[in-house]
């Protein structure tokens, strides 16, 4: 790593230098965004395509802009302060607020981990693998990667995992969509204020922008030790990540719209989507779709428990780190084990009310997100903390509007659910 950096920074050609530096520094943004396309995300996109066809596809563009704005703020805070988000929140807003926020974050992330393992189980069932084999195996894999691997090798494994999202793009090309029609849907956005459509739209927003992402992105930027003068590369990484995630989302919606929606097939989960694809678009399409689901779920399942544990320990001031022994960091290992154990264990429990639990975790997600966004905006405009890198007026306006729209959307979602 150090060799590359040296080689890149000493090379003369400015284009080479720029491209090279980007490859050295890329990772956090792209990984965070791809983890975002997890089991819950794929389910929501599948449902959006199957129920409404291409009607809502235009919404991906504003959602993408919102994601870029929010993620960029995190990346900037990470680079300028060199601290994680929960660390900053604790130092600025005190122990009480942090404590309750951490409880909220723990619950929502617990729900997310649960849905990742559910995604693994569902995806593997398409291939005919029983969940009593796939879930314990994946839980062990997740644990092993973190405890036995270093961040560097784990990160490389994750970057490779990102490539497997291409399976969705291939599926999208296989189904041969009418591209003219697709383009028209983007240029002529339409929205009728029907409750079902609104709920889906809110669902799309909610699944794309989640509280844990901000914590994770900032932590990995800090971990990577990116300096202020290298920040533009980190920013590009964040933008790239947000664009890639939406390209993948676009193809998932496209596949489901071109097949399931056209033939009027009703689905309820991502597994339904994968299975229903077989008679309409062929067996391989179905396999590719399921493979994407397993990859996404496994990917997120390996990141979420660890990042949750880190941020909680950081916020509450407990020792954290996989290089510590159990007696040095009991809370760290305790939380980590609880999250994986519960996440995988609950899925195996027969007749577990999974849908209500996922609903509940969505509700908490919605309750935590506004706080995280407001804290972020307050932090990033703190001159003492950010020095010369606070938001400018234009950026502030975009950020506040995004946050207010996000907050009102999640509030509507909450009211609907209750």
């Amino acid at each position: 790593m150090a060799d590359y950096t040296k080689w890149v920074s000493s090379s003369r050609g400015s284009l080479w230098r720029t491209v090279g530096l980007f490859f050295v520094l890329m990772g956090p943004g792209i990984i965070t965004s791809n983890v975002d396309n997890d089991a819950g995300g794929i389910t929501t996109y599948s449902l959006a395509g199957a129920q409404f066809g291409l009607k809502l596809i235009w919404s991906l563009i504003p959602i993408m802009i919102a994601l870029i704005v929010i993620q960029e703020m995190c990346a900037r805070m990470g680079v300028v302060t060199g601290k994680g988000l929960s660390d900053l929140i604790r130092e600025k807003f005190g122990a009480k607020i942090t404590f309750y926020l951490m409880i909220g974050v723990f619950l929502t992330n617990m729900g997310n981990v649960l849905s990742e393992f559910a995604g693994v189980a569902a995806g593997m069932e398409v291939f005919g693998v029983n969940k009593f084999i796939s879930v314990p195996l994946s839980a062990f894999l997740v644990w092993w990667m973190v405890v036995k691997g270093t961040y560097k090798s784990v990160e490389k494994a994750f970057l490779v995992a990102c490539i497997f999202y291409i399976s969705y793009i291939i599926t999208g090309v296989i189904v041969k969509p009418d591209w003219g029609h697709v383009f028209e849907q983007f240029t002529h956005p339409q929205l009728s204020f029907q409750p079902s459509e609104m709920t889906m739209l809110i669902g799309l927003v909610g699944t794309t922008i989640a509280p844990w992402m901000q914590f994770y992105l900032q932590a990995s930027i800090v971990e990577k030790g990116i300096k202020i003068d290298e920040y533009k590369f980190a920013r590009f990484d964040v933008v790239m990540g947000s664009v890639i995630v939406h390209i993948v989302a676009f193809f998932i919606i496209l596949v489901c719209a071109e097949t399931l929606f056209k033939h009027g097939v009703r689905i309820e989960t991502a597994k339904d989507a994968a299975l229903s694809l077989a008679p309409l678009a062929g067996k391989y399409c179905s396999y590719l779709f399921a493979f994407g689901l397993v990859n996404a779920s496994l990917f997120s399942a390996s990141i979420l428990p660890l990042s949750t544990t880190y941020l909680i320990c950081e916020g509450l001031g407990w020792e954290a780190g996989i290089d510590k022994k159990f007696v040095e960091a009991p809370q760290f290992y305790g939380f980590y084990s609880i999250i994986i154990f519960l996440g995988a264990g609950i899925i195996l429990y027969p007749n577990f009310p999974l849908i209500p639990i996922m609903y509940f975790s969505q509700v908490i997600n919605g309750m935590v997100l506004p706080f995280v966004l407001i804290f972020m905006l307050l932090l990033i405009n703190d001159k003492k903390l950010m020095m010369g890198y606070t938001n400018g007026p234009i950026f502030n306006t975009i950020a506040w509007v995004t946050s207010i729209v996000m907050i009102s959307f999640t509030l509507i979602l909450l009211i609907r659910m209750i």
Partner: protein
């Protein structure tokens, strides 16, 4: 001030409490406590009160009662000033509460949950910081609930986790500037512990604490720090200081660090150093990382065969502070060709009038400059030496490899 006061108070007993001017007239709420900057146990000299969105400083003397409610003296009219007293002060909430501090006794970085004050007559002195779960629960307001639950379930009382203020090194706010003054606290730490602490800290605190160290301590700590962080640290300090620090480091560590830096920066640092040392380092820099040349250091003692044992011992005594390895003396001829190796044990047991040529064993084990590092490790395991000489093709002594460098190859992540 009235009687029946507690002997100890917590910061959380004051934070956000209302302040009354007379028994029923509310004036504002406490947002911060102000302590003098003094050792070992600073006294609280005033409070920061917030009224209608503005913050004011009130000297402690103005308070006539703490219980049941904080009441100010009515005798004199209140002059509300927003300015703080001029002398050295610490705003406890802004600079200490919820922040990371260094516990110099336990040699680790911890987060402050609460502060513990001792009442002396009518004044408070800061005696402990609370870093335990109990302190956290107290802040959240669940201390009593937690106590009852734990007692009922396990008959267990969660103890406080206090660190005496005299072992606390604050890292944030204005204290950064004062760090060099109170730095004595840090100099108690072993360089390896200091290195761990610097690694555990983040961002500005990390560089601040490093800046405050004196050259020698900084060099010792830097040797133990993770290479990635080493690089960041050395890039944030002025070149002259960097040169001084690198000069103090052992040559093998210094070379590893310089090799990781961008070329221009490394060159600048070398130029700021003592001529002789810089040349040594330049020579070492040529060798690739994974070979014997990349592991070796030039801080060793070499003497010619006709030197007497007595002279050798006194030379060793003289040079020892600057040597990486003192276990061996290397015997070379006028052309720097390696003739022999003499251990300190041989030297001490020999007659003082003997010459080195009489002592040296017939066979010398050495490694070549371009030997792979794994071969070097093999040689160490095979012969059990604490250091091995490195020679070039013509058997000229170019450097030595100490046992510590081999440890870095074998267990790069340990420590």
């Amino acid at each position: 001030m009235d009687q029946n006061l507690k002997d100890f108070y917590f910061f959380s007993d004051f934070l956000n409490r209302k302040v009354y001017q007379s028994s029923d007239q509310r004036m504002g709420k406490i947002v911060d406590l102000v302590a003098e900057r003094a050792e070992p146990y600073p006294m609280i000299i005033g409070i920061m009160v917030q009224t209608q969105g503005k913050r004011f400083y009130l000297p402690w003397e103005k308070i006539v009662r703490i219980e049941p409610q904080i009441t100010l003296s009515e005798k004199e009219p209140l002059v509300l000033k927003s300015s703080l007293p001029e002398k050295d002060i610490v705003l406890l909430r802004e600079e200490v509460m919820d922040k990371q501090i260094v516990d110099t006794f336990g040699a680790k970085v911890v987060r402050v949950n609460d502060l513990h004050f001792l009442r002396v007559d009518s004044r408070l002195r800061l005696v402990h910081v609370d870093v335990g779960f109990r302190g956290l629960m107290r802040r959240v307001g669940w201390e009593k609930v937690m106590d009852q639950a734990l007692r009922w379930l396990f008959s267990y009382d969660l103890p406080n986790q206090f660190i005496s203020w005299k072992y606390v090194q604050v890292l944030s706010g204005s204290d950064l500037l004062q760090l060099s003054v109170s730095q004595k606290k840090l100099s108690h730490l072993h360089p390896a512990d200091l290195a761990d602490i610097i690694e555990d800290l983040s961002g500005r605190e990390r560089s601040a604490i490093f800046h405050a160290l004196d050259t020698e301590t900084a060099a010792e700590a830097l040797e133990e720090i993770d290479p990635k962080i080493q690089k960041v640290l050395i890039e944030t300090i002025p070149v002259e200081k960097a040169s001084d620090i690198v000069e103090e480091m052992s040559p093998s560590d210094a070379v590893d660090l310089l090799a990781d830096l961008p070329e221009e920066r490394a060159e600048e640092i070398l130029e700021g150093m003592e001529q002789e040392k810089a040349e040594d380092l330049r020579e070492l820099l040529v060798h690739p990382d994974e070979t014997a040349g990349g592991l070796m250091t030039t801080a060793y003692l070499s003497l010619t065969p006709e030197v007497s044992v007595e002279t050798a011992i006194s030379r060793l005594r003289q040079e020892a502070p600057n040597l990486d390895v003192i276990d061996y003396i290397y015997v070379v001829d006028a052309e720097e060709v390696l003739q022999g190796v003499i251990s300190i044990r041989d030297l001490l047991t020999a007659q003082s009038h003997q010459t080195l040529s009489e002592l040296q064993p017939p066979r010398v084990v050495s490694v070549k400059l371009d030997e792979d590092q794994n071969e070097v490790v093999e040689a160490f395991a095979k012969y059990g030496f604490r250091a091995l000489p490195v020679v070039d093709e013509e058997n000229h002594l170019r450097g030595i490899i100490g046992f510590r460098s081999v440890l870095d190859v074998l267990a790069p992540d340990a420590g």
